[in-house]
């Protein structure tokens, strides 16, 4: 961490798509699992269906997540997965944010 270059404009380097608390939480959850479904995500985040749809839409548009459509019997049960670029973006976000915090004076 110490040998990294100081950021020119730290706040500008932060990925704004990830930076929203709800989306950050969604990405954190997807980062540690292979995939999960809407119901699990809704229960864990406490978001309403509408909010969840909006945030997932933004993450999907950015190419950070992918929705794999599937069925459990006759009921639709899609799984949400982090894409490789989503994983990389989350890692970059984590490193950038950590560097910003490390650079702060005591």
């Amino acid at each position: 961490m110490n040998d990294t270059k100081p950021l020119e404009n730290p706040l500008k380097d932060i990925d704004q798509i990830i930076h929203a608390p709800a989306r950050l939480r969604i990405l954190m959850m997807l980062y540690v699992v292979e995939s999960l479904d809407y119901v699990f995500l809704k229960n864990q985040t406490g978001l309403s269906w509408g909010n969840l749809a909006t945030h997932l839409g933004k993450l999907e548009d950015a190419g950070y997540i992918t929705v794999i459509k599937g069925y459990q019997g006759k009921k639709p049960q899609s799984q949400i997965q982090l894409t490789t670029s989503g994983r990389n973006a989350f890692r970059n976000y984590k490193n950038t944010f950590q560097q910003i915090l490390d650079d702060l004076p005591e």
């Binding site: 699992v33 809704k42 229960n43 509408g50 459990q72 639709p76």
Partner: protein, 209 residues
């Protein structure tokens, strides 16, 4: 700091995905295998009173698996675990297999040595294998309650033997100790399940699908 937090998040998500009480209910009902055959014994004989429990236990497992799939999962949601968790679960399966084989071997050995071994020795063997098995399962699942179950299940045959030798309880005290334990664990599981069903009502319509 970040790594620890992500680890905690993963662990909590894993716990939430399996913390439905069904595991407890299954374990509680499994413990009845130490109680009910004793009472069926006079009608079916030694061998069949034990054998009849295998399909029954299998039916219980399948029944609860179906219940989880049809009732619990639509409310709680489903999750596919990451590499770390899959690796731990794979190790747990190996541990369960080894512990079961060891328990089976010790059971056979104890059966043939039953007349020469004191009652304490058979109970102690069983207790040790249960304590080791449940401790490893608790560690692999990162589920503190399983340690407690391990201690209680390990203590049951020893307490039972004490009751048998000092207070004249029948069948090495198994009907009392395992009966009480089975009821306690099953009730605990039912309470967890009912709380979960109240906390997560069924989703009438999933708008996102």
């Amino acid at each position: 700091m970040e790594t620890t937090s992500l680890k905690n998040l993963e662990r909590n998500m894993f716990r939430d995905s399996i913390q439905d009480g069904i595991l407890d209910i299954q374990l509680g009902l499994m413990l009845l295998m130490f109680v009910l055959p004793i009472y069926i014994n006079p009608y079916l004989g030694d061998f069949w009173s034990s054998v009849v429990f295998l399909p029954l236990w299998f039916a219980i497992i399948l029944g609860f698996r179906a219940y989880r799939k049809k009732v619990v999962q639509p409310r709680v949601g489903t999750i596919q675990y990451g590499k770390y968790r899959k690796k731990r679960l794979k190790r747990l399966n190996i541990i369960i297999l080894v512990v079961n084989l060891a328990a089976f071997g010790i059971g056979i050995l104890s059966f043939f040595q039953a007349k020469v071994l004191p009652g304490w020795a058979v109970s102690a063997r069983f207790s040790i294998i249960m304590l080791v098995g449940f401790s490893l399962a608790g560690y692999m699942l990162e589920f503190p309650r399983i340690y407690l179950y391990g201690v209680l299940i390990s203590a049951a045959p020893i307490i039972g033997e004490y009751l048998y030798q000092n207070h004249g309880f029948s069948h090495h005290g198994f009907p009392v100790t395992f009966g009480v334990l089975s009821a306690a664990i099953t009730i605990n599981g039912l309470v967890i399940l009912l709380r979960l069903l109240r906390k997560y009502p069924p989703h009438e319509h999933e708008d996102l699908e």
